[in-house]
C-alpha cells in the first residue's frame, strides 16, 4: 500500500493516489495526505487506479476525508475504481456522498 498526494498548481485541488490494499493499515498515511499544513484545497480527488481492494475501514477513512472537506459541502471525486472497489462502494451506496467515476 502506498499513498501519495499532489496539490494542483493553483492549490485548489488535492489529489490523493492510493495503490495496493486500501485498508486499516492506510489510516495514518491517508490522514497525513489530506491534513497538510498550509494547504486548503476546495476540491479533492481520490485516485483509486492502483487500489486493488477496499474494506470497510477504508470507507470510514473516506467519511473522515468528507468530514474534513466540509461534510455535506465537500467536493470529492473517487476516480478510476476497479470492478471490486466499485462494488464495495455501491453496496454501501457511497455514490450518494461522493462522485464516483
Amino acid at each position: 500500500m502506498t499513498i501519495t498526494s499532489q496539490l494542483s498548481a493553483d492549490g485548489r485541488e488535492l489529489t490523493i493516489a492510493i495503490s495496493g490494499r486500501f485498508d486499516f493499515n492506510a489510516h495514518q498515511a491517508f490522514r497525513d495526505a489530506y491534513q497538510r499544513q498550509g494547504a486548503s484545497p476546495q476540491r479533492y480527488v481520490v485516485d483509486l487506479q492502483g487500489a486493488t481492494y477496499l474494506d470497510s475501514s477504508a470507507l470510514g477513512m473516506l467519511l473522515l476525508l468528507r468530514d474534513h472537506a466540509g461534510g455535506d459541502e465537500a467536493d470529492i471525486r473517487l476516480l478510476n475504481c476497479n470492478v471490486d472497489v466499485r462494488k464495495v462502494l455501491s453496496v454501501s451506496n457511497f455514490e450518494q456522498l461522493f462522485v464516483i467515476a
Binding site: S57, L59, L63, D67, V91, S92, N93, Q96, L97
Partner: protein, 563 residues
C-alpha cells in the same frame, strides 16, 4: 559491556578443565566444573548456570546425553551449550547438534574467540528471555481480553436479551464472539403481530463495535415493544448512531418488518450484501442494499424508504453478513458471492437451504468461522400466533367511565403513527393489559384499513401479484405525500359496570366507504396472506359492527369483573 555469567564446564580431562576454567574465570565469569556428564546434570539442577561448555566424550555419561538432559531441564529457557570438541567428522558434529548443542569450539582454545562465543550466546539468551516474557504477557493479556469479552457479552445479553431469536421459525448462526466482530442480530415480536429482524455489521472490530451495538439493541427492543413502526425504529436507530459514533464508524444493516397478518414484508437494506426472499417453490428475490449504512446521514437527510414484497406461508427470508461472502480459507481463497449463488441455485428443498449453507462454509474453511452471521426466518402458521400480553399492575381496578376522541388530519396522517400513544393510554386500564396484543393488532388493522382504503382510496386487489404489490406501496407513498385533506376519527370509550367492563373502539374516515359485508365474503382466500384483516378483527374482538355507508367500523372488547 560484557556481562558476568555463571558458566558450567564439563570436561573429563583435569588439565583441559583447569586450562578452560582459568580462561573463563579470567574473563570475569563465575565457573562451575564437572568431570563427567552425570556431575554436569546434577550441578546444572543445583546451580542453574546460564551457559554450558560441554566435552563430548566423557566417562559415566557422555556430553550428548548430558546436553539432552540439561536442555530438557531448562525447558523454555535458553541455556546455550557449546561443545568442546576436536571431533572433525561431520557425523560427530551432527550428533552434537542433535543433542541440543548450539555451537562448537575446538582445541586449542583461543580466549578471544571463546569470549566472543560466550557473549553471542548470552545475547541470544537475552533475546529468547525477552521473547518468552512478551509471549507470556500477550497470552495473559489475551486471556484477560477474552474474559472481559465474556463478561461484556453477558451484560449485553441482559440489556439486549435474545428477543425472539429463539422462536421456532428462526434459525441463526452467530458465534458468541460475533459481537466483538461488529455483528449484531436482533429479533422482536411487535404488539401488532409483526416480527422485526435486524442484522447489523459495524465497521471495525472489538470494543467500539460492541459499545455501539448496545444502544442500537435498546432502541430496537424498546421501540418494538411499545408498538412503534419499523420506520420510526429505523429512523431512531440511525439518529442515535449518528449521534454517538465517530465519523469513520457506521453500521451496515438490514431491517425486516415481517407482517404475517397483512402478508407483507418491508425491507430496508443499507450496506449489507443481498438478503433473499425465497418462495416455497424456490423462487428467489434478492433484497439488495438501497441505502447508505446507519449512522452516516443526519435525520433530515436519512432515507427511510422500505421496499415492499408480498409474503405467503412457506416463504423464507435469508440474511447474511459480509463475513460469509468475504471469508477466506487457509489457501486464501474467497468464499465469494458466486459460491453462495451456486448454493442457492443448487438447492432443491428450501427447508434444507440453511443446513446446506452451513455445511458448505464448514467444508470450505475446514472449521467453524467466528466472524460471520447468518439468519433464516420462515413464514409458518405459528408466526401469527401468541399476541402480546402485558403484565398487570398491582393496584385495584376502580370504576372507569371515559371516552376520548381523536381526529387525525392530513399532516398527521402523513407524518405520525398514533397507535403507540393510544396503546399506552389503553394500558392504563388494568383489565385490558392481558389483551394488549389483540387490541394493538385490531387498532393496527382498523387504522391501516381506514388510511389505505378509506382516505387514500387504494384498492387491495392490486396486491395480488409481486409487481402490483410494489405498485401498491408506491401509490400509498405518493398519495400520502400529496394528501391535502382527509381525516380519520377514532373514538375510544371505556365503561365499567358491576359485572365487568367494556372498551369500544370506533373508527371512521373521510373516504368513499366500502361494502363491508361484501368485503368479508371476498376475503376468504386462505392461501394468500393479504386481506385477512377484517376476519382477524372479527375473531379477536367481542363485538364487531359497521355503519351502513361503510365509512365506519366499531369493535368491542369486554371483560368480567375480578372475582
Amino acid at each position: 559491556m560484557p556481562k558476568r555469567l555463571t558458566i558450567l564446564i564439563a570436561e573429563d580431562s583435569p588439565v583441559d578443565r583447569m586450562l578452560l576454567s582459568t580462561i573463563v574465570a579470567r574473563q570475569g565469569h563465575r565457573v562451575l566444573t564437572a568431570a563427567d556428564g552425570m556431575q554436569a546434570v546434577a550441578l546444572f539442577e543445583q546451580e542453574r548456570p546460564q551457559l554450558v561448555l560441554m566435552d563430548a566424550l566423557m566417562p559415566v555419561m557422555d556430553g550428548f546425553e548430558a546436553a539432552r538432559r540439561i536442555k530438557q531441564l531448562a525447558g523454555d529457557e535458553l541455556v546455550p551449550i557449546i561443545f568442546l570438541t576436536s571431533l572433525t567428522e561431520n557425523q560427530a558434529l551432527v550428533g552434537c547438534l542433535e543433542a541440543g548443542g548450539d555451537d562448537f569450539i575446538a582445541k586449542p582454545y583461543n580466549p578471544i574467540i571463546l569470549e566472543a562465543k560466550i557473549q553471542a550466546m548470552h545475547r541470544l539468551r537475552r533475546l529468547q528471555a525477552t521473547v518468552l516474557a512478551q509471549r507470556d504477557l500477550i497470552a495473559r493479556r489475551n486471556q484477560q481480553l477474552l474474559d472481559e469479552h465474556r463478561a461484556a457479552k453477558a451484560i449485553f445479553d441482559k440489556v439486549a436479551h435474545a428477543g425472539c431469536l429463539n422462536a421456532p421459525n428462526i434459525r441463526y448462526r452467530q458465534s458468541p464472539r460475533a459481537l466483538f466482530n461488529g455483528d449484531l442480530l436482533l429479533a422482536a415480536q411487535a404488539p401488532a403481530g409483526q416480527m422485526f429482524v435486524l442484522l447489523g455489521d459495524f465497521t471495525g472490530h472489538g470494543l467500539p463495535a460492541a459499545i455501539g451495538a448496545m444502544p442500537l439493541a435498546e432502541t430496537f427492543y424498546g421501540m418494538a415493544a411499545k408498538g412503534h413502526s419499523s420506520t420510526d425504529i429505523l429512523r431512531e436507530m440511525n439518529a442515535k448512531l449518528k449521534q454517538i459514533l465517530p465519523v469513520e464508524m457506521f453500521c451496515c444493516a438490514t431491517l425486516l418488518d415481517i407482517n404475517p397478518l397483512q402478508g407483507t414484508l418491508r425491507v430496508w437494506n443499507g450496506g449489507l450484501p443481498d438478503g433473499y426472499l425465497i418462495g416455497a417453490n424456490g423462487q428467489r428475490t434478492p433484497l439488495g442494499s438501497r441505502h447508505l449504512p446507519l449512522g452516516i446521514l443526519s435525520a433530515a437527510a436519512f432515507d427511510d424508504e422500505f421496499e415492499h414484497f408480498p409474503l405467503a406461508v412457506g416463504d423464507r427470508l435469508l440474511l447474511l453478513s459480509d463475513g460469509v461472502i468475504e471469508s477466506r480459507n487457509t489457501h486464501d481463497e474467497l468464499f465469494g458471492e458466486r459460491r453462495l449463488l451456486a448454493l442457492l441455485d443448487a438447492n432443491s428443498d428450501p427447508a434444507r437451504l440453511f443446513d446446506e449453507i452451513e455445511q458448505a462454509l464448514l467444508a470450505f474453511h475446514g472449521q467453524v468461522q467466528d466472524d460471520l452471521s447468518l439468519i433464516e426466518v420462515s413464514l409458518d402458521e405459528t408466526l401469527a400466533g401468541a399476541p402480546l400480553s402485558v403484565p398487570l399492575v398491582a393496584h385495584r381496578s376502580r370504576p372507569i367511565d371515559w371516552s376520548a376522541h381523536f381526529e387525525l388530519r392530513a399532516e398527521s396522517l402523513r407524518n405520525g403513527n398514533p397507535l403507540p400513544l393510544l396503546l399506552q393510554l389503553l394500558l392504563q386500564v388494568n383489565p385490558l393489559r392481558p389483551r394488549a396484543g389483540a387490541i394493538y393488532t385490531v387498532l393496527g388493522e382498523l387504522y391501516a384499513n381506514a388510511l389505505e382504503h378509506g382516505v387514500l382510496g387504494l384498492d387491495s386487489a392490486l396486491k395480488c401479484d409481486a409487481e402490483g404489490f410494489q405498485r401498491y406501496y408506491e401509490l400509498r407513498r405518493e398519495r400520502l405525500q400529496a394528501l391535502a385533506e382527509g381525516h380519520i376519527r377514532l373514538e375510544l370509550s371505556i365503561k365499567t359496570h358491576d359485572g365487568g367492563g367494556c372498551l369500544r373502539i370506533a373508527i371512521s374516515d373521510s373516504g368513499a366507504g366500502f361494502d363491508v359485508a361484501h368485503a368479508l365474503q371476498l376475503q376468504r382466500c386462505d392461501q394468500c396472506l393479504s386481506g385477512r384483516g377484517l376476519h382477524l378483527v372479527r375473531q379477536l374482538t367481542d363485538g364487531f359492527d359497521w355503519q351502513a355507508d361503510g365509512r365506519g367500523l366499531g369493535v368491542e372488547f369486554g371483560w368480567a369483573a375480578e372475582a
